[in-house]
Structures are given as C-alpha cells and as structure tokens.
Point group: C2
Chain length 140, copies 2
DNA sequence: GTATCTGCAAACCATTTGCATTCAG
DNA sequence: CTGAATGCAAATGGTTTGCAGATAC
C-alpha cells in the first residue's frame, strides 16, 4: 500500500500541479483497498466539492492512469480504477464482488498452461471473483 | 462448431421468428471462429441489408445472448460476442488479438490456486491473448 | 505572470426505447 | 390475422472536448 503523500509526490515529480482535488483523489485511492468506478470517485469527491464536475474526475483519472499511478480494468459493469500494483513480481487478484477489495494471488496459471506452438502469447488475464470475509453474506 | 441450421432451429425452438436478418446473423456467427463486436456485425450485415439499423443488430444480439445462443465478453475495446461454447466441460480460451479467433484451453487454473479460507469463490476469468498462426506478424 | 486546472456546456459514441409499419407464423 | 420484428427518430448514459475563468507554481 502507498500512502497519500507517496502518490502526491509521484504526481508532483511528473510535473502535475497539486490541487486540492488531486490531494483528495490521492487520499481516496490510498485508503481504498479495491476498485472504484468513475461514479464511485465522483460520489466520494462530491462530498467535499460542491461544484464538482464529472469531466474533471475523468480527466484526473485518465492523467493518473497515464502516469502509471492508477491502473484501469474493464469489468462487465464498466471501467474501474485502483492504485497500480507496485509489487515487482507478476501476480493476480482475488476480487470481492461486493466491496471491490482485492487480494493478491502469487500463483500464475501461465506456467501450467499448454499453448500450441503456433500461438504466440502476448498477455493474459486471470481474475478470481467472490466474497471476502467481511462481505460473506453474498447472494446465494 | 455449430452450423447455421442448428442455430436457426434453436432460435425457432425458443419461439423466435426466423427473419432474413436472423438467418444471416446465424450464418455469420456459425462461420466466424472468434469474437465479433456489434460494429463488426453491423458492418457485415450492412452488406446484405441496405436499410439496416444498428438497433436491430443490438436487439438481436441481446436476444440471442439471453437465449444462450451467444455469449458476451467485455474486452478493453468494449463488448464482443461469439457463439456460446457448447462443450460441457469447463474450459478457457486463447484469443487472437488480431482476428479474434479463439482456441479452447482445457486447463483450468482454479484447481491450483490457493485461496484464503475466508474468501468464498464465485467465479473466475482466465484468458490468454496473443497471435494465432495466421496472424503472427503481430506488433513487436 | 503563465501554464495548468477546473467547471460549464456541448459534443460524442455506444446502446436503448417508443412507436408506426412490415412481415413471419 | 396477430403478435413479433424492423427502421426510424429520439432518448439515454458514459465519456470526451473546447473554452473562459480560476489557481498552483
């Protein structure tokens, strides 16, 4: 986990101006263990900034994603963001369907996967969805 | 692979009317080995129906997806469709980044994945992307 | 001071909906 | 014939863009 200051200084180091909104944004992601949709972010930010506009949220999410501070993942419900994993070794995630919190999985299935000679692998996606301890009321 | 008639009769069996467009749609998916975006479908269909509208394409894709004839997957670039796999055993796919063609992988990583006791797994996603034999010019 | 940020409005794109017409059964 | 399918136009929802005023540096 990175704290708010880490994120701020990375933004600053990249030449971005440190506005109040960006501080709040940094804090939000520093404190959120899981994925957030643009709407989640907008709703949270809206509590602190009355005149907040959606486009600024999008702009900042995009900028932070381009700088590698955030990472963006496509879910069935749409795009979501979280802090970019700083761990060096390749890993995957357990993702809670309720709170969006993620837990690393060190195991990578590519090692075991038999791929035809003729297929040149570029990347892969392995994600496990379910309910974390705190959210285990679930649906069925 | 299923042929056009199989698909048509499944649609018919479900009470749908067999229009020209749906026949063409069935043929398109029967002959396409990979994922197609709504736009791909629209472009293809457009060659045969001059007054074609996008909403009919969407409607038919959605209906066929609800009937289990098609399956829908979210990629970075958006939603895509292919024939729903009829194979009984659970499996995953190699997906060609160029032509969208898919190849089944029998291996399922969940068997090897250590999950914390407290996390209740509901579903998972494992996809391998790359270039198939025919598309191996690739990008790098 | 100056370039970057922000909010606003409007544009944009993909997707959905209502309705009148057409067509499969 | 009748209800379902289609095309059209318009609405919607999510996201992006242009521009003028506000703000970090």
């Amino acid at each position: 986990m990175q704290n708010t200051e880490d994120i701020i200084s990375r933004l600053s180091a990249q030449g971005l101006r440190i506005t109040d909104q960006r501080k709040t944004l940094a804090r939000l992601f520093a404190e959120s263990p899981g994925y957030l949709s643009p709407k989640d972010v907008y709703d949270y930010m809206g509590k602190y900034y009355s005149g907040l506009s959606f486009d600024t949220v999008y702009r900042n999410l995009r900028v932070m994603e381009e700088l590698g501070v955030l990472e963006q993942v496509m879910f069935e419900e749409g795009v979501k963001f979280k802090l970019h994993c700083r761990e060096h070794d390749h890993h995957h995630h357990l993702i809670c369907l309720n709170c969006g919190k993620t837990y690393p999985i060190t195991y990578c299935p590519m090692e075991q996967t038999a791929v035809p000679d003729r297929f040149r692998v570029v990347r892969h996606k392995f994600e496990v969805f379910g309910y974390c301890e705190d959210c285990s009321e679930g649906d069925n």
